[in-house]
Amino acid sequence: MTGTANGAGAIAAAAFTLPALGFALGPIFKSTQHTWETVGTESLFVANNYTPVVVTLVPGIGEAGKSTVYIRRFNAAIDVDPYDQGTPYIAISSRCAHVGCPVRWVDAAERFICPCHGGVYDLLGRRVGGPPVRPLDRFYTRVVGEDVQVGPRFSVNSELRRFSPRYPGEPLDGIGQYLYPARPGAQKL
């Protein structure tokens, strides 16, 4: 009798606790949908300077779901890394790799500068000063007809090797890529 009652109580408690827990933790395992967003025609972008465009990362929540992306045409003179070859446009995320503040491209200094804690990045988005632990994230790009489209985000390490998107503040050099694993739901493009 006691054992049955305790067992029934445990099952009843588990019956509402486990689904609730799964409900709260579910988003960790949800796979993200890849979307491509048209940001302008090819004539809008040049090879030696960045053009800021606003993309919608999360639809339906207004301004909070938007982010600025800095785009320039692929430039064989500076984009010498083998990982960048064949990319029509270089799209740099404005999200600082320190703790996620928005960086801006300062033309005169030819640097991305973060207003929060002083992170500084060069033309390729590589860290040249301040607290960031890795270069700025990038977006996949493609050209459809005349339109330039921006796709999913990806992260890079200091050699510009590509990784699935990580949160800011997570280094990807050396042991970092193992300490900060990819999201379970992240898909290869």
Binding site: I61, A64, G65, G100, Y167, G169, E170
Partner: protein, 267 residues
Amino acid sequence: MPKLPAPPLPAALREPPPRPGEQNGGIGIAEGAKEAGVTVVDWVDERTSLSGGVRWLFFRKVPKGTNWFYTLGSATLFAFLSQAVTGVFLAMYYRPDAAGGAYESIRYVTNEVFLGQFVRGMHRWGASVMVVLVFLHMGRTFLFGAYKYPRELNWVIGVVLLILTMVMGFTGYLLPFDQRAYWATIVGVNINGTGPLIGPYLSDFLLGGSEFGATTLSRFYAIHMLLVPGALIALIGAHLYLVTKLGTTAPPWLKVQRRTESRESEV
């Protein structure tokens, strides 16, 4: 001086004459009204024995040298109660809608609702007051050595309460959903994400996905007004129980005094 006779009471209020076989008769209405309060308390107490608990909680022996520093814990409790009451009333107006409704509802509370700015101000500034009081209370406990045996467990519960208070501050900061709230939350979630191995999962849990989205705000709202307050109330109850059970400590500058009367009896 002889007392003048009282004017006669109306018949309805007059005490009925004693019935045959009754010694004193039933008590009158005036007498009954006086007794009613006592009767209700007695009725409840007879069935619950609450008065013993109330005496145990409120009429305790406190050590010599108890001073104003000992009220910091109660002050923190009052700050929490103030947060709870103002929070409940703010929840009547607040909408956790990331598309703009959250900011608009806060703007409405602040600018349109009668005393809205005042109640919101109490909640907003009271949050800082509570954090300050928690630290002062913690400092008092530490400096007076009140965390030592047998009160270690109460210190541990207090630390958990401190962390939960911080969680309240963090999750409540997002709710106004202005620029400051948004970016502070982005930064805060990403700081959580820098923890090795579990950091990315913690960020996913807090954001409710891989990006800041519509569910992030409602998630923070639920944590702020349901999950953490429940834990806070339960742990405050445990904290108070242990304080009552173990008693408070004397301040460290008080020397141990021999009981003189017992020494005299030994002679």
